[in-house]
């Protein structure tokens, strides 16, 4: 039934206005042996060329790539959704891109990424929602929680644009509300602990731990 000893398999981050600064903070000093993949959907202007990956690769030791269709997801790499395409995660841990209609006026949409990632990784997913001036990602956070993942929102009090984290929190399914530097610390600590340490670690930062839904 409930598997107490597990280690997360992936981090998915959704971010909009104010994103580059926030991501810079969140990724600072991540160790080169960071154990799991990080997938990022940042709202971008459709014509903005794909320089987010390049900017981010200057601030972290981890390889940052613009996500490619059908690409196998590797631990320790950071994948960024390309402008004008939704990024979806397949259950076999590969990436799919799609040019479906916009969702929440956005393409890429955070909800689309979160939802597919929740189906792919279930309890193994950590979903993080950062600054933004809309409510994309709120529905996705709810799904991540429903499937037993861990959900984190940037503290709206300190977020540059509080609406996105606040909308997620309003769903009542956010496990932990943290500042950017606390999220950064959380990620750095992830690479220092093992399976046995993870549950204690999560319970430390997080009063209520979720259960996987089993039937």
């Amino acid at each position: 039934m409930k598997n107490n000893k597990y280690f997360p398999e992936a981090v998915a981050i959704g971010v909009s206005a104010g994103g580059l600064k926030a991501l810079t903070k969140v990724f600072s000093n991540l160790p080169a042996d960071f154990p799991i993949p990080i997938i990022v959907t940042q709202h971008l202007h459709p014509l903005e060329d794909s320089y987010l990956a390049e900017l981010l690769s200057r601030i972290t030791l981890l390889p940052v790539k613009e996500a490619r269709d059908k690409e196998k997801i590797k631990p320790g790499d950071i994948y960024v959704a390309p402008p004008n395409y939704h990024l979806l995660i397949e259950r076999n841990e590969t990436i799919s891109l799609s040019s479906d209609e916009k969702v929440n006026h956005s393409r890429p949409s955070i909800d689309v990424m979160f939802e597919s990632a929740a189906y792919a990784w279930g309890t193994g997913l950590i979903g993080i929602i950062l600054t933004g001036a809309n409510s994309d990602g709120a529905y996705g956070i709810k799904i991540i929680k429903e499937f037993g993942g861990l959900t984190i929102a940037e503290n709206p009090k300190t977020a540059k644009y509080p609406m996105m984290p606040k909308s997620a929190i309003d769903t009542g399914t956010v496990d932990k509300i943290l500042t950017l530097s606390e999220i950064n610390e959380f990620l750095i600590n992830l690479s220092r602990i093992d399976k046995n340490g993870y549950m204690n670690f999560v319970e430390d930062i997080n009063g209520t731990q979720t259960e996987d839904i089993d039937r």
Partner: protein, 286 residues
């Protein structure tokens, strides 16, 4: 079993039902996207689970058709990714000019915007009259719209901008006339175009082409199906012919990718290599 695994099974059964009952095969489409579409469709229908839709699907053809529409994403625009048209104009049209007649295939043409965009480019470069253009899709509703060539006036500003960025040399407004809140594509652009239903999963090659455009279709397929479609294009291209894919599509995972060369760094237009005399690769076909 976890809920998400049960749902996965339900979707497999739904896709099987669709295939066995109607011959429409979505089993090798990129799964995450199909799942998302199925969930969305479920909400619209009011059924409680994916598997509850299966009896309706089996017995009600209209229900099937609405589901197919949900699975077929026809998002498109005039001169989408304008820089692609620039490269076509600078690198591909000069080669096509050397042929006395040219055959072009748009596979997955959706509502036709891409077809008319290229037609304009051909016209402005003096190639339209020697072209035969096939535009296919498996979505009849989209094809019908494509044939009519009537589009929303709202988008005309965006179209015009794209046209200019694509290197259009005239005025975009000469290619349509406005009617109420629509634009109607000029009939002279239509005379060389044949629209037809063709399914990339089940149908075969129908002739030798000099240029095939299949953009933003392959991303909806899994690797197996991508390879099938690419083999079909390979069967349909003359040596030295061109294959133009969508901006996020590639030949990376295709075993015959080596037979093709990208015509410009980072462009998604590939040229089929001319093979040296005597080296016959036709037995490689399946």
């Amino acid at each position: 079993m976890k809920i998400k695994d049960i749902e996965n099974l339900e979707i497999t059964l739904l896709l099987d039902a669709m295939y066995q009952r109607y011959g429409y095969d979505f089993r090798d489409y990129a799964r995450a996207s199909v799942e998302r579409r199925a969930r969305q469709f479920l909400i619209k229908t009011g059924y409680k689970s994916i598997s509850e839709m299966i009896p309706a699907l089996l017995h009600d053809e209209l229900f099937f058709q609405t589901l197919v529409r949900e699975f077929s994403i026809t998002v498109t625009e005039m001169f989408r990714d304008p820089s692609v048209y620039r490269v076509l104009k600078e690198k591909v049209l000069p080669v096509l000019k050397t042929y006395p007649f040219i055959k072009i295939w748009h596979a997955g043409c959706a509502t036709g915007e891409e077809v008319y965009s290229l037609a304009i480019l051909l016209k402005e470069n003096g190639l339209y009259d020697r072209a035969t253009i096939f535009a296919t899709d498996f979505n009849d509703e989209a094809l019908e719209k494509a044939k009519q060539g009537i589009y929303n006036l709202e988008n005309v500003k965006q179209c015009t901008q794209n046209y200019q960025k694509a290197g259009g040399s005239e005025s975009f407004s000469q290619y349509y006339h406005a009617k109420y809140d629509s634009i109607v594509i000029d009939k002279s652009l239509q005379k060389k175009i044949t629209f037809a239903n063709h399914n990339l999963v089940t149908d075969h090659s129908f002739g030798e082409m000099h240029l095939i455009l299949c953009r933003n279709v392959l991303i909806y397929f899994n690797k197996t199906l991508q390879n099938r479609a690419l083999n079909l294009f390979d069967d349909s291209l003359v040596p030295g012919g061109f294959l133009c894919l969508g901006n996020k599509e590639s030949l990376l995972f295709w075993e015959k990718g080596k037979k093709y060369e990208s015509i410009e760094d980072s462009s998604k237009i590939f040229q089929k290599k001319y093979l040296p005399e005597g080296l016959n690769m036709s037995n490689e076909k399946q």
